[in-house]
């Protein structure tokens, strides 16, 4: 049985599905393909040779078997698996085509950017403590960018585009849902067809009146109980796959609704702080890393004070205690700010290597000031609320 091609394709599909989609794929491969391949071979191999009719009339057994099983169970399940995976395979083809086009379009501008400002992007990403090495690495940067290209091309083909959010971001959600709907339509159609063709049971004896059989003839099926059990198992598995597909559709719908609610909530919460939202996007990521480091150092140093401050929370005293607590919070915040100022005064000496873009430096300073202002605002708000 040449199932390896299909299983290879399905492996690829798992990189483009949501979590529920991966469960569906696993169920499909393990329960359906393996069961059909293994069970089909062993149970149904003698279905015609052991189909015995109580007549010696030549040809009667053939025509009676043909009337009993116009399409064997195994072939039915093979068609079912192929047709049910077809929408998913078509989605895979479409997704890979679209992703290849997308990455093609994004590729050129990224390459130009990298060539014009390689050092700035590297310096911002790294910690300021490592910025001393920048001078030695400059001659390597251009070569590294050249080598990055084939790596990037390879990585992009291996990159996963799975998960609901990624699919949404890639603009493939509509096609994804469409293929899910087609899949469920096929599943329902095949379940119905299976019921019409085979019912729920394989009867042990079959009555045949087809020519050239003389009048009525009794024919006997081989392994009827085993076939009945297998048939019922495949019914349950098909139904399970259908449920998984429907659950995936619901999961996507619920996820989408939740995302819209979250977006609305974040929009509402962002409205009273316009300054911070303007400042944040321009800060290079390395800046935040240093800020976080200083914050941690500051917290560690002040922890005894903080602990003693917190100890006073334990006893629920009068409101004056709460005021004390808020004042201590304010003091802490101001200490953090002082530490941050000191750190910034120290760091310009390190980052004064000529390669660092001065524009980025002034932007970093501006962001630091904004951040400090924001912290002061936070502390004063807490004081007001007390």
């Amino acid at each position: 049985m040449s199932w390896s091609f299909l299983t290879r394709l399905l492996d690829e599909i798992s990189n483009h599905s949501t979590f529920v989609g991966k469960i569906w794929l696993t169920v499909l491969i393990i329960f359906r393909i393996v069961l059909t391949a293994v069970g089909g071979e062993t149970i149904y191999y003698d279905e015609q040779s052991k189909f015995i009719c109580n007549t010696q009339q030549p040809g009667c057994e053939n025509v009676c078997y043909d009337a009993f099983a116009p399409l064997s169970h195994v072939r039915f399940w093979i068609f079912q698996v192929i047709l049910i995976t077809t929408p998913t395979i078509m989605y895979l083809g479409f997704a890979m085509h679209k992703i290849a086009r997308m990455e093609d379009g994004e590729y050129r501008p990224v390459r130009n950017q990298k060539k014009r400002m390689p050092i700035v992007s590297r310096g911002a990403v790294r910690d300021y403590e490592e910025a001393e090495d920048n001078g030695e690495e400059d001659p390597m940067i251009a070569e590294e960018i050249e080598q990055d290209k084939p790596d990037k091309a390879e990585k992009s083909s291996e990159k996963k585009h799975d998960g609901r959010r990624r699919i949404l971001r890639d603009g493939l959600m509509k096609v994804y849902v469409c293929q899910l709907l087609w899949r469920s339509a096929f599943e329902v159609a095949f379940l119905f067809g299976q019921y019409i063709l085979y019912g729920f049971e394989v009867i042990p004896s079959y009555i045949c009146t087809r020519s050239p059989c003389p009048h009525t003839v009794d024919c006997f099926v081989s392994r009827p109980t085993e076939k009945t059990i297998f048939l019922l198992v495949m019914y349950v598995v098909s139904f399970l796959c259908l449920l998984l597909t429907i659950f995936e559709i619901i999961h996507l719908g619920v996820g989408g609704i939740r995302d819209t609610f979250r977006r609305r909530a974040t929009l509402a919460s962002r409205a009273p702080r316009p300054s911070s939202s303007r400042a944040m996007p321009t800060a290079p990521p390395g800046y935040h890393a240093t800020m976080k480091k200083e914050k941690l150092k500051g917290e560690l140093r002040d922890s005894p004070m903080g602990d003693s401050g917190r100890e006073s929370f334990g006893d629920e005293g009068p409101s004056s205690r709460e005021l004390e607590r808020l004042r201590r919070h304010l003091k802490l915040a101001q200490q953090h700010l002082d530490l941050a100022y000191q750190a910034e005064e120290g760091s310009p000496s390190r980052s004064s290597s000529p390669e660092v873009n001065t524009a980025a430096q002034t932007a970093a300073e501006q962001n630091r000031l904004n951040f400090a202002q924001e912290k002061q605002g936070e502390a004063s708000e807490k004081g007001i609320h007390a």
Binding site: Q48, A69, P70, H97, N112, P118
Partner: protein
């Protein structure tokens, strides 16, 4: 019937050098024809001679009647169909590989020699290894599709003349050494009919895809010709299409790199 590995690997290579419809055609070929043939049809036709029963005890009669009824088994017929229909595509693949090989040599030549010595410029491929289907390559591609269409039609008509589309369970045979007329009964006629109709439907879908691909290529080619006839500002926006501007872009980007590292 699991020996499709070599053909599959070759057709996989073609997939990246075909148009969109070509890729769909290849997928249809793989999934609906090769897979169904290997996974299902084998079992149905496996016992076609051993399970055929004739109502005579005359020795040798069954053999000659089977031979008379089935000059070529359906399975072998479909295997031949798949191989013949894939052959024009494989010839096109050969041409593509030849083109890629030549262009790689031109690129190496360009890198080692100065600009003034370069006479030939890569025409079909770019640095990423993508090949554009145009010029000679497009001609080969369209010829391969045309032959594919011819072969598909030939096989569909041949199948009709050999067997028809429905299998009758009863075969009437009067070939020597059978005594006068003898009735033979084949095994699983209905299942075979279902498979025959399925494979016929897939052949027709493949045929339609090929016809659609020819129309698509002709339309896109005429659209590209109209586009080229437009005035120059539009062509400057998309410098990718001509080989000279590719070289210019390389020069510009090199300049940028040198400025940034200074």
């Amino acid at each position: 019937m699991g020996e499709w590995g070599f053909l599959s690997s070759l057709l996989d290579k073609v997939q990246s050098h075909s148009s969109v419809i070509g890729k769909v055609w290849l997928s249809v070929l793989f999934i609906f024809r090769i897979m169904v043939l290997g996974a299902g049809a084998d079992k149905v036709w496996g016992d076609e001679q051993s399970s055929m029963i004739c109502n005579t005890k005359q020795p040798g009669c069954k053999n000659v009647c089977y031979d008379h009824a089935f000059p070529i088994s359906h399975i072998r017929f479909w295997v031949l169909q798949i191989i013949f229909v894939s052959t024009p595509t494989l010839i096109y693949l050969g041409h593509v590989l030849h083109v890629i090989h030549k262009e790689n040599k031109i690129r190496e030549h360009m890198q080692t020699h100065s600009r003034s010595e370069v006479v030939k410029v890569p025409k079909y491929s770019n640095e990423k290894g993508q090949v554009k289907i145009k010029g000679d390559l497009l001609g080969t591609y369209m010829t391969s599709i045309f032959f594919r269409i011819l072969l598909e039609v030939a096989f569909i008509v041949g199948q009709y003349y050999l067997y028809g589309f429905v299998m009758d369970p009863r075969i009437v045979c009067s070939r020597a050494p059978c005594p006068f007329t003898v009735e033979c009964y084949m095994s699983r006629p209905t299942e075979k009919t279902i498979f025959i109709i399925f494979m016929l439907a897939v052949s027709c879908v493949s045929l339609l895809l090929n016809v659609a691909e020819i129309f698509y290529l002709v339309c896109s080619r005429s659209a590209r010709r109209k586009f080229k006839r437009l005035p120059s500002p539009t062509s400057a926006i998309q410098p990718r299409f001509s080989g000279d501007s590719l070289v210019k872009n390389e020069k510009l980007s090199l300049h940028d790199a040198s400025h940034s590292t200074a």
